[in-house]
Symmetry: C2
Subunit: 271 residues, 2 copies
Amino acid sequence: MRKLYLIGIGAGNPEYITVQAIKALNLVDVFFFMDKGKAKQDLVNLRKQICERYIEKTSYRVVEADDPVRDTTISDYTTRVELWHRQRALVYEEMIAQQLEENQCGGFLVWGDPSLYDSTLRVIEHIIACGRLCFEFEVIPGITSIQVLAARHKISLNGIGESIVITTGRQLSAGLSGTAERTIVMLDGQCSFNSLLDEELDIFWGAYLGMEEEILLSGKLSEIAGMIEKVRHEKRQRNGWIMDTYLLSKPNRAAQARVPRTGTSCDHNDL
Amino acid sequence: MRKLYLIGIGAGNPEYITVQAIKALNLVDVFFFMDKGKAKQDLVNLRKQICERYIEKTSYRVVEADDPVRDTTISDYTTRVELWHRQRALVYEEMIAQQLEENQCGGFLVWGDPSLYDSTLRVIEHIIACGRLCFEFEVIPGITSIQVLAARHKISLNGIGESIVITTGRQLSAGLSGTAERTIVMLDGQCSFNSLLDEELDIFWGAYLGMEEEILLSGKLSEIAGMIEKVRHEKRQRNGWIMDTYLLSKPNRAAQARVPRTGTSCDHNDL
């Protein structure tokens, strides 16, 4: 039977990959690369770099496919994304059927972790639900950008015994969830933190986390929101894409969270 | 100058370790092991196993210390934990000062990820705040039990574009946070899910995640809560300790979350 591996490759730094993921990479006969948008070529290159660095055999193949475009005429976000997943499922299904022989292993290299704000798992579910293609699959966890953000800022994600909310820019623009002391925001292309400048919050922001170009900024949200927006805009212009994430913390907790550092806030991975 | 590495070693499976963590392990001269409670010996053994498997040099040392006991006469949870962190800080400070020479590297092997419900980072902050000992430190992220839970159940942690709450058993017993569709619960020694049997929820539960004895159970909370409690009690009795975590999902989301599986719900890591 065919087998698919959904392999979390970590966020940015090729050394975030786990030993388990390296083992899985070495079992794969055909890798399917389907990146989208402006980051596409950079992320495809990172995946190729990971394959070249960690795979010992030379017999694997890489199949790249064009990602379907989201139908922007559909106004409801969830409906739009779900339809897009179904379209992706058709493309994936055809790719797997045509490119992967029975008894071969296919691999999807997932940025970060397959369980967190990634669609690959849902697309695989759609294919299974259609029932036309039979395969096993396994999920290999990977380091997320959230963990890299915390490690590089040297902060805890949670206050002692407290809850954490992980949310999206879209959700944040509707307001901060009242209960949690700390909120982690992903997928925020609109700088939604600007809607919270009246609240007393600290921000720990990071872009291109784990990569050569990593940028870290932290401070009072009301004081550095403008700088973050400016840096974000400039970097996106220059590179053609940006990926960033941040943690918002109520200030009494920020005192716990912030650590005196010996380095600067912009130093790069020491390892 | 002395340097400390806080190294996330992942949850359970020694193959969850990252290439970055292996590099850091190989820089460390002295490892400090400070586990507590009933799991102590098993977790110390896992750390030793990781050192033996991944460190190439033979010159490193391991220093084990007794962990201070929490003062149970202090009723407020946060106060009790903060005081315990300060006591730990004194023990760590003395250990580092006595066992680590200038220009040597010390290492703390942290279960899961140093940024998530772990005290090592806070203890290091206390030592820095005291100002008696000068050192650099670096945080190396690791795979958390949450990620292992999701990977092994083959579920996404988030619904499409939705928020997630990560919380503790203690917080959950005060009620489910109203806004998020999915809640991940850690540090729940009291089976606090029993307070939510009236709500329509699905549960994805895992214990000893990533380890030989891994147990996975999932289903409607109201139907399987009793079984989870029974299994949890028996395993804790037999092993002397248990570590478990779970995801609660509102049912319309559970349909998205649950994936038809080819294996059973109790099969072990394929890799």
